[in-house]
């Protein structure tokens, strides 16, 4: 039963890392958690409707705030766990070369193609990307060429298949995709910090929850997260 086991609701992009962490932590926690991966939005709404989740790991701060505003998380357990970077990618065979800086000629890189990114209203990576382009002053020059994908992975696929001329995705995704190459990294200060927060839900009853939260911040978990390209925002314990 889901009720008897620790249940973690986590943003889907964390799957690789969290699966390994879960395995590594099994001994310390006493059991393996069940992890349900989906879009942060869906998970947040499910928790709102009484989902039997003990821990919520969101891909952005907005959905965590959505829950904490409704008193559905335990505020004292909320931690900014991981960080990430967004990068500009192009298809592997692309000849585009560019330096990401204020006013750089992104439009030229795109040409008459498209710039793929996550839905910039809904998908965190999209939101960060748009903010970065705005602060670099190039948003208006490419706004009409943006193809918004359902999620950042779909955006990555659009670039990998050569469908889009360029894309803005997480560093973690870009590293592992052979079909694309990174042609630039967006400086951290150009966009709001990319944060994966974690918190225990208000209705969490499973006794192992604190142990799992603790393990998430352990050194060995940190190594595993870093191996997937994430940065650690919370000090390891």
């Amino acid at each position: 039963r889901a009720d008897e086991q620790l249940v973690v609701f986590a943003a889907a992009s964390l799957k690789n890392a969290l699966d390994e962490v879960n395995k590594a932590c099994e001994k310390d926690v006493g059991e393996a958690a069940k992890i349900s991966y989906a879009a942060s939005s869906a998970l947040a709404k499910q928790i709102e409707e009484g989902a039997p989740a003990d821990i919520f790991v969101s891909a952005d701060l907005d959905w965590m705030k959505y829950l904490s505003d409704k008193k559905l998380t335990k505020p004292d357990t909320e931690v900014k766990l991981l960080g990430n970077q967004i990068v500009l990618v192009a298809p592997k065979d692309s000849k585009a070369e560019v330096k990401v800086e204020k006013g750089f000629d992104l439009a030229k890189v795109i040409g008459d193609g498209k710039l793929a990114m996550g839905d910039f209203k809904a998908v965190p990576a999209g939101k960060y990307g748009k903010a970065a382009l705005e602060s670099l002053g190039v948003w208006s020059s490419v706004e009409g060429k943006v193809a918004q994908a359902e999620n950042v992975r779909a955006a990555l696929k659009l670039v990998a298949t050569g469908e889009a001329a360029a894309g803005i995705v997480y560093q973690t995704d870009a590293n592992a995709e052979k079909g694309v190459k990174v042609i630039g990294v967006f400086p951290e200060e150009t966009h709001p910090p990319i944060v994966y927060p974690v918190a225990q839900t208000a209705e969490s009853k499973d006794k192992d929850t604190p142990a799992f939260l603790k393990c998430l911040r352990s050194a060995k978990a940190g190594e595993l997260f870093k191996a997937q390209g994430f940065t650690l925002l919370a000090p390891t314990q």
């Binding site: 889901a2 690789n16 069940k34 349900s36 409707e49 989902a51 997937q228």
Partner: protein, 234 residues
Amino acid sequence: MNWLLDLSPDEWNAVRLSIKVATVAMLVSLPIGIAVALLLARGRFWGKTLLNGIVHLPLILPPVVTGYLLLLAFGRRGPAGAFFADYFGLVFSFRWTGAALACGVMGFPLMVRAIRLSIEAVDRKLEAAAGTLGASPLWVFATVTLPLILPGMIAGAILSFAKAMGEFGATITFVSNIPNETQTLPSAIYTFTQVPGGDEGALRLTLISIVISMAALIASEVLARRVGRRMDIE
């Protein structure tokens, strides 16, 4: 072959769960689908257009919306959810039963349409003849209408099953993606697509899903052909 079947326990569970969910969704919605198709094909009542609309809703709405509406209605706090929990001890939220519900609902318009088309093609004169032979409307239905619409029922059932094997949006929105509980094949496939290096896993599960559905499809065709051969058109 080895590569294809070299699945993790969670993946095996997803396969098993998907078959269970699709089968239950199909079987449970079949009688309801027949009833609704009958109402729509034969009934003359005030809210018929409305009923027809409601049946089609899952088709019209983005799956995510359907899933969300199910969450609101059948969730732990939803009115329908409370009703079923109280009176039948049947809990949908974050259980495989909820996945079956979501799949059943998503496949419902397809099933109803197929059955309804079959019902509309039935020669009502045969039913009249059965009536004069002493069969009450219920018996007429069971012994004449039902056998005559069998091809439509089979078609409807297989559509529902296939839809359930592919349904993702409503399911993951409604009951999330909990391994061994609500993680169906499509959800597992989705999870793979969301991470670097997941493509192979996604492909593998997709192939398994196709194999299962194709087997069901062929079985249904064979069944339908046998039924059809028996009947021909008089």
